[in-house]
Amino acid sequence: MTAIKTQGLTKKYKDVVAVSDLSLEIDEGEIFALLGVNGAGKTTTIKMLSTLIPPSSGKAEIFGMDAVKDKDAIRPLMGVSPQETAVAPALTVKENLEFMAGVYGVNGKSATDELIERFGLSEVLGRKAKTLSGGWQRKLSLALALVNSPRLLFLDEPTLGLDVLARRQLWKEVESLKSKTTILLTTHYIEEAESLATKVAMLNKGKLAAAGTVDELKEKYGAASLEEAFVAAARGGDENANA
């Protein structure tokens, strides 16, 4: 089944076109990585797909439902970990988890116990979120996105600020979700996309430069690595102009 389908998805702010005419299809069970330099439109894309903001034009469908009209039906099925860590600062780790369980109306105890175990949160359980280090806050932010066992998960730069060990740990978590959850993630770490993603899309100035498996992208740009393909895609317009 198709998890996400967009047609001509566009978001304009006053004088910027953040996302331009984006058409994508993401199948259920995929881990889909969205790559692009700063300002390429990754976060804006996630905001539209996760029903936070409406597109200026075009449309997005989530599990066949319209991201604007059917957002009430879509929201319980998805989880979002925003680019900035999103936790309640004065609540403890445990209270944060219980609060989100309450928001989704899921059984607090079983949902949170599993996440505490999985993310190794037990050692910081009683600490207020605002006193945690950046890495721990990010782990908590991620755990919060999973409270409702979402069918579709949006991760905006999930490993930003994590150390190498924590990052690998998180990759393992993401992979273990693969069977049950469709994941759309953005990242600036090419090797993260390479090792996790089943498909990769590259955005350049709001436009889709290329999409496919890692091998397809390497082939398309005649590149030896995904990083080279990424650089070629990001420079895309300018290089053609020079040639």
Partner: protein, 242 residues
């Protein structure tokens, strides 16, 4: 259920950063005590007049710390997360209101208790004044949500200090408005603060004859308007705090 869950979180957030609550509790108590000691020979400062005045005045600080709480929430991505959750627009505002009623209750009880100690008569009015005061606090909470939805954390206290000023000058708590001319009297009648104070005064003094129909109409109209605006503006701006 979701409303209570959100209210619980808001109470924790308030209580764990208690400076503003303590301030808004201490200042009215201090004023009530001091003005009683000075013993100004004007009926405005008699306990039966000044006590409800102080309570309404203290609600303007409720507006202020409500605005700060909400502006602060909007400045983090926490509300962005909630904005894509199944929470409904009205649940946010009711969750904030429910969280603020306990501190308001403490505030009112403390002021009434001090007034009794200082010799408030008749004492039975406090039993009616407490529930009436909770109702009177509603537009102040809504105003706080409204200001918190349109300002950032720094501006929130500045903008809400307008409420403090308006209450001081237009509620009639410090001086009788008949002393300051007809034009100003109209302003007082059109704004909700004088009506709020009149209603509370009537309850505390068990004298409903001082209430004019316009007091009830003005108070209710503003309360409804503030709530509608706060729901609309909060939902429009909840994930646009930065």
């Amino acid at each position: 259920m979701r409303t209570l869950n959100f209210a619980g979180r808001n109470i924790k957030e308030l209580v764990r950063d208690p400076l503003s609550i303590i301030f808004s509790l201490a200042l009215p108590l201090f004023l009530l005590f001091i003005f009683k000691q000075i013993n100004i020979p004007s009926p405005s400062y008699a306990l039966d007049n000044f006590t409800p005045g102080i309570i309404v005045f203290s609600f303007s600080f409720v507006s202020m710390f409500t605005a700060i709480l909400i502006a602060k929430d909007r400045s983090t991505s926490f509300l962005t997360r909630l904005a894509v959750s199944p929470m409904k627009p009205h649940e946010y505002v009711s969750g904030y209101v429910l969280a603020l009623l306990p501190p308001v209750c403490v505030q009112v009880v403390a002021v009434l208790a001090l007034a009794l100690i200082l010799g408030l008569k008749p004492p039975w009015g406090v039993l009616l004044a407490l529930p009436v005061a909770l109702v009177i606090s509603l537009p102040f909470i809504a105003l706080g949500i409204l200001f918190g939805s349109i300002t950032n954390e720094k501006a929130a206290s500045g903008v809400s200090s307008i409420v403090v000023q308006l209450v001081s000058f237009t509620s009639g708590m410090y001086f009788d408005r008949s002393l300051v001319g007809d034009g100003f009297a109209v302003v007082c009648e059109v704004l909700p603060f004088e009506s709020a104070l009149t209603l509370l005064k009537a309850a505390l003094n068990l004298d409903l004859s001082v209430i004019e129909p316009r007091n009830i109409i003005v108070f209710c109209a503003y309360t409804v308007a503030f709530f509608v605006l706060s729901v609309v503006l909060f939902n429009k701006n909840m994930s646009k705090g930065k």
